[in-house]
């Protein structure tokens, strides 16, 4: 029988990680990144989400009006169009909006707004408006855009109290986009901890935790929300209310993640390479950190991403029912409360704009999650 050819050592081996594009030298994370980059829909979603979150971060600056401001002269005003060409056919380099005239419909006698082509208000950038604190720290009154007094700019119309919809959607995104993140973050920690205990130790602890999860999951969600939000005192600062609501979501949300974590722990615990490490004398702590966690962290990222849209919808639903955030604080769900009246939907359809934003956000999160899942799946080409 022939003996094996022994590979000749060609040059001193390089121990520093090779910085090449060769996939053979790529770590798991790099492979995931490379695959993710090929997923077009997920990439677009990531950009859209980045835009949405940037807007949320600078909401007070971007919104022309503040949370408290309203104008009873302009109740249920329709969205204003941005114009470049005026009624006389003259082109203006700066876009402008027309003022609003209120008229009565000759048939229904309903009050309605028409564009007042006499009054042109060119849009101005970096205007002084209401006072606010930039990023919650620096007091300023600078706004991204606005028009000169006495003009008003309602890009997406106004609601039943004469508040600018665009401003409120932008301001509401702060709550609607951050509650899911914080909620998922908290449930991530609880889920990782309890799911980890459940999966790694097994036995009676596993049984107890699993039964608790089953009990929590068997509650009907709506009555549970109602019960929990009834426990929130009615007159408390917005920040505290926000905190309570996040806790409610985390309380329900951790169960899913705990199950994912438990399943992964159980399946990885018996992988050959984990057993091999154990035989080689690697300590338990090191096995968890070096073998188990890296083994399922990518799945966790995916599970978390896919859990966020659920929370966005839950927050919207809760606020829609008046159980979540309450006025004057706002979120997309609060804005949609007005759409509860059929009159509003029929006559002032622009009040459904927040719905479009909710759908957009949920879809982008789902696409992002899909992309991540495909990228993290080593068996998918």
């Amino acid at each position: 029988m022939k003996t094996l050819p022994v590979f000749k050592r060609q040059k001193p081996a390089v121990i520093s990680p090779a910085k090449t594009k060769d996939a053979n030298y790529s770590s798991q994370w790099r492979l995931i990144y490379l695959k993710f980059k090929k997923h077009k829909l997920a990439r677009i979603s990531l950009v859209i989400l980045a835009v949405l979150y940037t807007v949320a971060l600078f909401a007070q600056f971007i919104a022309p009006y503040g949370l408290q401001s309203y104008d009873s002269k302009y109740v249920n005003a329709p969205p204003m169009g941005l114009h470049f060409i005026d009624a006389d056919g003259k082109f203006h380099f700066k876009p402008f909006v027309y003022g609003l005239k209120s008229e009565r419909d000759p048939e229904t006698m309903r009050k309605m707004f028409v564009a007042d082509t006499e009054n042109r208000y060119p849009i101005q950038f970096f205007v002084r408006g209401e006072e606010y604190k930039f990023l919650g720290l620096i007091p300023t009154s600078l706004h991204l855009l606005g028009v000169e007094e006495p003009g008003r700019i309602f890009l997406l119309g106004t609601d039943g109290m004469g508040r600018d919809m665009f401003s409120r959607i932008v301001l509401g995104s702060q709550v609607s986009l951050s509650i899911p993140l914080v909620g998922v973050g908290i449930s991530f920690v609880i889920g990782l901890f309890l799911g980890g205990i459940s999966g790694y130790f097994g036995g009676w602890m596993d049984s107890v935790i699993q039964r608790i999860i089953e009990i929590i999951r068997s509650f009907p969600t709506l009555p549970l929300w109602m019960a929990l939000s009834a426990a929130i005192p009615p007159r408390i600062p917005v920040v505290t209310m926000y905190l309570y609501i996040v806790i409610i979501f985390a309380f329900i949300g951790w169960t899913d993640l705990a199950r994912v974590v438990r399943g992964k722990f159980i399946s990885l615990k018996n992988e050959d390479y984990v057993v091999a490490a154990k035989i080689a004398g690697v300590s338990d702590g090191k096995i968890i950190v070096k073998h188990l966690l890296p083994g399922f962290i990518s799945y966790l990222v995916v599970a978390t991403t896919l859990a966020i849209p659920g929370m966005i919808l839950a927050e919207t639903a809760m606020s829609f029912l008046g159980l979540g955030i309450r006025s004057p604080a706002t979120s997309w769900g609060v804005l949609l409360q007005e759409a509860q009246k059929i009159e509003n939907v029929a006559l002032y359809p622009w009040k459904l704009f927040p719905l479009g934003i909710v759908i957009l956000t949920v879809l982008t999160y789902n696409f992002l999650g899909d992309g991540l899942r495909d990228a993290a799946d080593p068996y998918k080409k």
């Binding site: 590979f7 040059k11 081996a13 053979n24 030298y25």
Partner: protein, 343 residues
């Protein structure tokens, strides 16, 4: 007379089974390893053969403590003649002696972490057991990589970049880096194709000569077993039914089950007419084993005694143990042409 390295005494392993009706009942248990005892000599290769589900892998894992045996003892003999109760080692001593017994797994795809580079995989046991400087680790890894025929330039790659045979070399390098005295090879070549099998087996043999390694070679491939081992243990339903030197076992098996296994060894010579013994039925359910000799439902030679009474493993010839009531009376067929089936 060579030294003993391992003394396995009365290893038992039960697995608890959840039955559908068992909500309030005591869970049933399956007796997977039934009083396994054998001795292992330094430098030898002991093969463990048997059909799927007979407990080969469980035995291997219990020996390296990848799994805890339900009862029984394993005594490890150190180089200076000390005898150590291997299964009850704890803490510092545990590390000191456990590194002497390593394992190579069946599936080279699942036994290497996909998230570590090959260098890190091979170095991991070293770092876990010894306090070494970076350059020392590096040097040892290089050394072992060359010994196992791995290209040292590829060590920074990840396992997904390697073929099955190369991955098994990585697994061997990882097992070998601590210079163990005993390696349990759990079906170490059965996931590889035949030409690669030969390479890996030659590698294992070379390494055995170089480092005086003892192997426990778990396999279901009798041709390989015949080629590589000094002694063979045949397992059936959690029991060793026959234990003998390779030559003696293959030329004159003393247990009907071994005979049936032998008859399944493929013969390369088409002229050679051979009656193949086909065992009826499947392996008995280990949760509910048959009475008496566990092999009797499928045995062609069974008598009333076999149904009633379980045979003990006893010596029937020099270095030949078997668990059959009629070992002396039966004239069983072994493999006729010994060299013909060698790979």
């Amino acid at each position: 007379m060579t030294k003993k390295i391992l003394n396995v005494e009365n290893i038992n392993k039960y697995f608890q089974v959840k039955s559908k009706k068992a909500l309030f009942r005591k869970p049933a248990s399956v007796h997977v390893l039934n009083d396994i005892s054998f001795e292992l000599l330094e430098g030898e290769t002991l093969s463990i053969v048997g059909e799927s589900g007979c407990g080969k892998t469980t035995l291997g894992r219990c020996l390296v403590r990848g799994m805890d045996a339900s009862s029984g003892n394993v005594y490890y003999h150190t180089e200076d003649g000390q005898q150590i109760d291997f299964l009850k080692l704890k803490g510092k001593h545990s590390k000191q002696y456990r590194r002497n017994i390593q394992m190579i797994f069946q599936d080279p795809y699942s036994s290497l972490s996909p998230r570590m580079s090959v260098f890190d995989i091979i170095a991991e046991p070293l770092i876990a057991n010894f306090k070494l400087s970076k350059s020392e680790v590096e040097q040892k890894v290089m050394e072992i990589a060359e010994k196992t025929g791995l290209n040292v330039n590829y060590l920074q790659r990840y396992p997904h970049a390697f073929s099955g045979g190369q991955r098994q070399r990585i697994a061997i390098a990882r097992a070998l880096i601590m210079r163990p005295r005993l390696i349990v090879c759990d079906e170490a070549v059965s996931a590889l194709d035949v030409s690669i099998q030969a390479q890996i087996i030659n590698l294992l043999k070379d390494l055995q000569e170089q480092f005086q390694i003892t192997y426990i070679f778990i396999s279901h491939d009798l041709s390989i077993v015949q080629n590589i081992s000094d002694r063979v243990a045949v397992m059936h339903l959690g029991k060793i039914v026959e234990l003998a030197t390779t030559e003696s076992l293959f030329s004159s098996p003393k247990h009907p089950y071994t005979e049936a296994l032998m008859s399944a060894v493929p013969q390369p010579d088409p002229e050679l007419k051979k009656s193949r013994i086909i065992l009826e039925g499947e392996m008995p359910n280990p949760a509910n084993p048959p009475s008496g000799c566990h092999f009797h439902p499928r045995c062609a030679y069974k008598t009333e005694k076999c149904v009633q009474q379980a045979p003990e493993l006893r010596q029937v010839a020099d270095n030949h143990f078997t668990a059959c009531h009629y070992a002396e009376e039966l004239n069983l067929q072994g493999v006729q042409d010994e060299t013909a089936s060698a790979i």
